[in-house]
């Protein structure tokens, strides 16, 4: 199914992605997250 407004759809997807990435980045800076990471010795890269 093709969107009637491909530019709008694209902009909406990019905006949603931006919100998810921004919110995730902020989640990394939460004190409880930092505490948990600081206590890890194994990072699963």
């Amino acid at each position: 199914m093709r969107s009637r407004h491909p530019r709008l759809t694209r902009a909406a997807i990019l905006a949603a992605l931006g919100v998810v990435l921004g919110a995730t980045f902020l989640a990394y800076l939460r004190p409880d997250f930092i505490f948990d990471v600081a206590n890890r010795i194994v990072l699963c890269f």
């Binding site: 998810v20 995730t24 990394y28 930092i34 948990d36 990471v37 890890r40 699963c44 890269f45």
Partner: protein
């Protein structure tokens, strides 16, 4: 059941394989959060859990070529379903088994095998087949970006899941999520049954022999080894390095991880996009050379929070950007028939490099009391990979006409 009348379209493949990759890469990336609660609950040292993670990484590499062979031969959909079930089994194993050796070996084998069925190698075949040739590199870039996105997003998700539900329940939720998302996505990736043309087709053994005897493939294997070594050494040891150098604030180390994760998404995507119109070998060389420069400048510049942030953003851009380019070169040289298997072989070298990166980092630090030597090795390997990728001939391999069997 695992075949369809017609091949899935390009967008469906990108979306379905992207979701599988997001979960496959994301879930394993956050497993480190269980280190403390599991070790405490069972009264283990940290060694048991570390061994399980190290085994997972090695097994991921070892099973990679076999999962690739299966994907090339029996279809990606079937392999993803098996991978999802193995993933579920591995997570449940981690939740329920309290005997240390069984825990480490079982979860190492199950999740390692699951990753080989659901991550880049096994997926690359269907992505390559569904993409028009001019968009193939971009398609690999989007797939890699999906994996990177999973790594970035799933870490805080898993950390919260443990906080809210407890470590054991968190495993149950994740195992359900993996199966409920991956299995339906696998069914969207069903392809028509392979029809033999009657002509002699290259066998698995012939394809393997051809690839390993071909110099550019050997160069790619060498380059990918370096990628694994550098990425895992930095990922695992950067926080300890910062602490060792007096940057005690954990906020800096965590922000560094977040920046690596965030920029990794863009690096993977744009590497694939650039690979569509620039020679991939030069892009790969540039990536390894840029890593070398970034590491050297980071070590030479006075260490501060800002030098860490800039280094992390730069390394993030260069993190998994090698994946779409390497897979793109393999597809270009050898074609698509055995792409998943050949990607699996190259990835095995990546995982051996990863294992050595994390182990050697710890070993040399314990022996010498500093990371200086291993940083020098990392820089030297970066230069080696820069040179190794330059002569890679990306053109399709010329095969002698095969007699009909």
């Amino acid at each position: 059941m695992f075949h369809s009348e017609r091949a899935p379209d390009f967008k469906t493949v990108l979306l379905a394989s992207g979701l599988v990759l997001t979960l496959a890469m994301g879930v394993r990336h956050g497993l480190g959060f269980w280190l403390q609660p599991i070790s405490q609950a069972h009264g283990w040292t940290r060694e048991t859990f570390s061994l399980a993670i190290a085994l997972q990484n090695l097994m991921w590499g070892v099973f990679g070529p076999f999962a690739g062979m299966a994907a090339d031969r029996y279809g990606t959909a079937r392999v993803i379903v098996i991978g999802a079930l193995l993933y579920m089994g591995g997570l449940l194993w981690m939740a329920l088994v309290d005997q240390p050796t069984l825990f480490a070996v079982g979860s190492g084998v199950l999740i390692g095998a699951a990753l080989s069925c659901t991550a880049f190698g096994a997926i690359s075949g269907i992505v390559g087949r569904s993409a028009p040739p001019e968009k193939r590199s971009l398609a690999f870039g989007i797939s890699s970006a999906a994996g990177s996105f999973g790594q970035f997003v799933m870490m805080p998700v898993e950390q919260q899941l443990i906080s809210v539900t407890g470590w054991q329940q968190a495993f149950y939720w994740l195992s359900a999520l993996v199966v409920l998302v991956m299995v339906p996505m696998a069914f969207r990736l069903r392809e028509p049954k392979l029809v033999h043309s009657g002509k002699h087709e290259q066998s698995i053994w012939e394809a393997t022999r051809e690839a390993f005897a071909y110099r550019p493939f050997q160069f790619l294997i060498a380059g990918y080894f370096v990628c694994g070594f550098q990425v895992v050494f930095i990922g695992a040891h950067l926080p300890s390095y910062l602490k060792d150098k007096g940057l005690m604030d954990p906020n800096i180390a965590v922000a560094a991880l977040a920046l690596i994760g965030l920029f990794n998404i863009f690096g993977s995507y744009y590497a694939g996009k650039l690979g569509g119109f620039l020679p991939k070998r030069y892009l790969l060389s540039t990536i390894y050379f840029s890593r070398t420069i970034a590491i050297s400048l980071f070590l030479l510049a006075p260490l501060s929070s800002w030098s860490v942030y800039i280094f992390s953003a730069a390394m993030g851009l260069l993190w998994l950007s090698t994946v779409p380019l390497t897979n793109g070169i393999i597809a270009g040289i050898f074609g698509l028939k055995h792409l998943s298997m050949l990607s699996g072989f190259v990835f095995l070298s990546h995982q051996v490099g990863s294992f050595l990166g994390v182990w050697l980092g710890g070993y040399l630090f314990t022996r010498e009391g500093s990371y200086n030597t291993v940083w020098m090795i990392t820089i030297g390997l970066g230069l080696f990979a820069t040179v190794m990728n330059l002569p890679v001939n990306e053109k399709a391999i010329r095969r002698a006409p095969l007699a009909a069997s």
